[in-house]
């Protein structure tokens, strides 16, 4: 076996080990690198949407992901919530992911108290935000909320009747809120586009995992007004709100990982081409 064939047949565990060392190293020495995050129009449009809302305006944020996608989607959830709390935009929270309820409830409490200490606000449950919980069958829930939130959610996550919450006063369906931001890791993104936007025509933006991002670009400008894709999108949002957090901290590791993978792709392809040539020439 010549060196080219060895390059092609490299045990994938060496690749894993190399990637582990590179990513871990880049993460621990993240303060030594400076990654310039450029903002894109699709992320900026969501930021501008929230920024241009008057204090007291209401939006619905659907946290349709579970702890397995927390790493990717929590940074964007945090960035959007922090902007809302700072601006005084009121947030109605819901989750259409069966494993998401506890995680979302904790996120609201955590980010609410972070906003209090950072912006000197007093984020209050029921007034500034509420969490109406989880119901199964997302398509039907999205359709139901288009008629009346109370069909599927007569009570919030804490068993309080929706009518007793100040934030829900005068809110019957999507017509009574400014828009919907769905942060999602699965097929609920399609359901928000199809059952939500196509049926009720409310302003809709999506925050999705990296794997999903390219699938939703075709909807930009027709069904959705903004799109945040994975950590890069979250890092852009963190830059826009002026707060560097988890996504920004992970960017040096991302750059290092991408360069490593490009390097391995090049090595693999060069090895493949050279071994094919050496076979043809019989050497």
């Amino acid at each position: 076996m010549n060196i080219f064939e060895k390059m092609v047949g490299l045990d994938r565990r060496w690749v894993f080990l190399f990637l582990f060392v590179v990513v871990t190293g880049a993460y621990f020495f993240r303060n030594s690198f400076s990654v310039n995050v450029t903002t894109t129009r699709e992320v900026r449009s969501i930021y501008d949407f929230v920024e241009n809302l008057d204090p007291g305006s209401k939006i619905l944020i659907s946290f349709d992901y579970d702890p397995s996608s927390l790493a990717e989607l929590h940074p964007m959830s945090r960035a959007i919530l922090m902007q809302c709390f700072r601006k005084g935009v009121r947030v109605i929270g819901v989750t259409l992911s069966q494993y998401g309820a506890g995680m979302v409830e904790e996120a609201f409490r955590k980010f609410g108290s972070e906003a209090d200490s950072l912006y000197n606000t007093h984020v209050e449950y029921g007034k500034d935000y509420c969490f109406i919980g989880y119901r199964p069958y997302p398509g039907f829930v999205i359709l139901g909320m288009g008629e009346n939130f109370r069909i599927f959610f007569p009570r919030d996550y804490y068993d309080t009747p929706l009518d007793d919450l100040p934030i829900m006063q005068g809110v019957r369906n999507y017509d009574d809120i400014e828009g919907v931001i769905a942060i999602t890791s699965g097929t609920t993104a399609d359901m928000w586009v199809i059952y939500g936007n196509a049926r009720y025509n409310m302003p809709l933006a999506l925050g999705v995992t990296g794997v999903m991002a390219t699938d939703y670009y075709p909807y930009l400008g027709n069904a959705i007004f903004g799109l945040i894709g994975g950590w890069k999108g979250a890092a852009e949002y963190e830059k826009l709100i002026g707060e560097k957090d988890a996504a920004t901290a992970g960017m040096p590791a991302q750059v290092a990982a991408h360069l490593t993978i490009v390097l391995f792709i090049l090595i693999g392809n060069i090895g493949f081409l050279l071994s094919r040539r050496s076979k043809k020439t019989g050497n």
Partner: protein, 212 residues
């Protein structure tokens, strides 16, 4: 150290053990990985059952029935019929709730049509949707990309001559799409890994504080 801190440390240490057990699969399959995998599936299934009972069965069936709204027995019976699938003799009864479910999904057909076909065609042909000052130029590139991409999947005509050339452009367009998807997928996986590294870092700090 308070008991609550010790309990938190123990649970976090268990989570760190599960993280290592999961990563051990990268070397090869092993009992630690199997344990972590089965634990996730078991806990997830149990959690979902309880959640369904508390968020659906109780408020949407049990409570209304107790309140005298007897007509809720109809969806309840439809739900029971679903379970008939487990009996060969009466499994045909499960077709009724399935038919009902599929029927209600019919609302999606015109919406899918409108969203995935009508809207996409009009957006593709709209040259005002693009990037920066070269909006029309990128609009034309998108139209060419879509048409050549579709040509690649047209197999009723041999891919030769001018048609073959256009289909080849379509392949490059598809490759660009796959490349973008791959780049995003790498980012997604690395995000998960970095978050685990961050967790292990905080666990290490917790251990250090405990012993100091």
């Amino acid at each position: 150290m308070e008991d609550s801190h010790l309990v938190e440390l123990l649970w976090t240490t268990f989570a760190a053990f599960l993280t290592f057990a999961t990563f051990s699969f990268l070397y090869k399959d092993n009992p630690f990985y199997k344990f972590a995998e089965h634990l996730v599936v078991g806990v997830g299934a149990g959690y979902f059952v309880v959640l369904l009972v508390l968020t659906s069965l109780k408020p949407k069936l049990w409570d209304p029935l107790l309140a005298g709204q007897w007509w809720y027995i109809i969806p309840g019976l439809l739900g029971v019929l679903m379970w008939m699938r487990f009996s060969k003799k009466v499994s045909w009864l499960s077709r009724y709730p399935i038919a009902f479910y599929i029927g209600t999904s019919g609302v999606a057909i015109p919406l899918y049509m409108y969203n995935s076909i009508n809207r996409q065609i009009s957006s593709t042909l709209d040259l005002s949707v693009g990037f920066g000052s070269l909006t029309a130029f990128w609009g034309i590139i998108i139209v060419i990309g879509v048409l050549t991409g579709l040509m690649y999947f047209f197999f009723s005509k041999e891919h030769k001559g001018a048609f073959g050339g256009l289909a080849k452009i379509g392949i490059y367009v598809l490759m660009l799409g796959f490349g973008a998807s791959f780049g995003y997928t790498v980012m997604a996986r690395i995000s998960l890994f970095v978050q685990r590294i961050a967790f292990l870092e905080s666990w290490g700090r917790m251990i250090g504080n405990f012993f100091s």
